[in-house]
Symmetry: C2
Subunit: 151 residues, 2 copies
């Protein structure tokens, strides 16, 4: 049971931006370097977060990205519902289902209820609840970006 890399990276980008002082711009390169993850992956992720209205892109030489809303207005459950696309827990949740017992099986219902309980917990969290300590995050990020460290 694993969230997609797309969900994972979306959350990381939002956490990074929420750790910054309000209105301060960040670059994708800086976020990629901070987490030591691929910049290419983050390009797609930030594009989609922009389409969802969660981040804003300022173009130009001194451009960058920032949160489009206050962290308290970004709900984690809502985000995960969007970034996970389909919640294909087992084959019959997806489009290409060939499981023969689908018409009578009681498992799908049980798994759907479990998934709802999972998402209901995440609905109780906003980005502000995740990043209550922005300074602590910032210190860890800055450590990654310092040129003299040999991480």
């Amino acid at each position: 049971m694993k969230l997609t890399l797309y969900t994972d990276y979306s959350l990381r980008v939002l956490i990074y931006l929420a750790s910054k002082p309000k209105e301060e711009l960040s670059t994708i390169k800086e976020i990629a370097d901070s987490y030591k993850i691929s910049k290419n992956h983050l390009m797609k992720v930030t594009y989609e977060l922009g389409k969802m209205g969660m981040i804003e892109t300022i173009r130009g030489r001194y451009g960058g990205i920032k949160l489009a809303k206050d962290p308290s207005e970004i709900n984690i459950g809502k985000l995960v519902r969007r970034t996970e696309e389909d919640f294909e827990l087992v084959e019959c949740f997806g489009k290409h289902n060939s499981c023969v017992i689908t018409p009578v099986c009681g498992l799908k219902n049980a798994l759907a209820k479990a998934l709802n309980a999972y998402l209901a917990v995440l609905d109780g969290y906003t980005l502000a609840d995740i990043v209550t300590n922005p300074m602590e995050y910032r210190m860890l990020f800055q450590e990654q970006l310092r040129p003299d460290t040999d991480h």
Copy 2:
């Protein structure tokens, strides 16, 4: 968010066996043919289910497998906890974690609570709750096994 194929197939084997009249033996080939899935995959799955004490293997020419317990004694949450091995929702749940914000991140806690809620729902189900209608399952399986069908 997907359960492993191992969990999926473990559930399918148990459902198959629970659909049979008590004490009737099934073969792995028959289960594989019924679901149209690989017999090799099921070999490993049935071996592990045997180790967990959920199914029993009778050796010999007329041998086969059957449930080692009543379906009402096989808990779905307990099974999924065992077959999923690790619940690596995101990187920091696993052994090879290199996410830099791990020491301060509030997300892991939120995801762990969500996972607990997910499993708590499954703890409320036994195999008997999933297979309340064994005859209906049997009809679907028999249809797959009939030699004159061109499935």
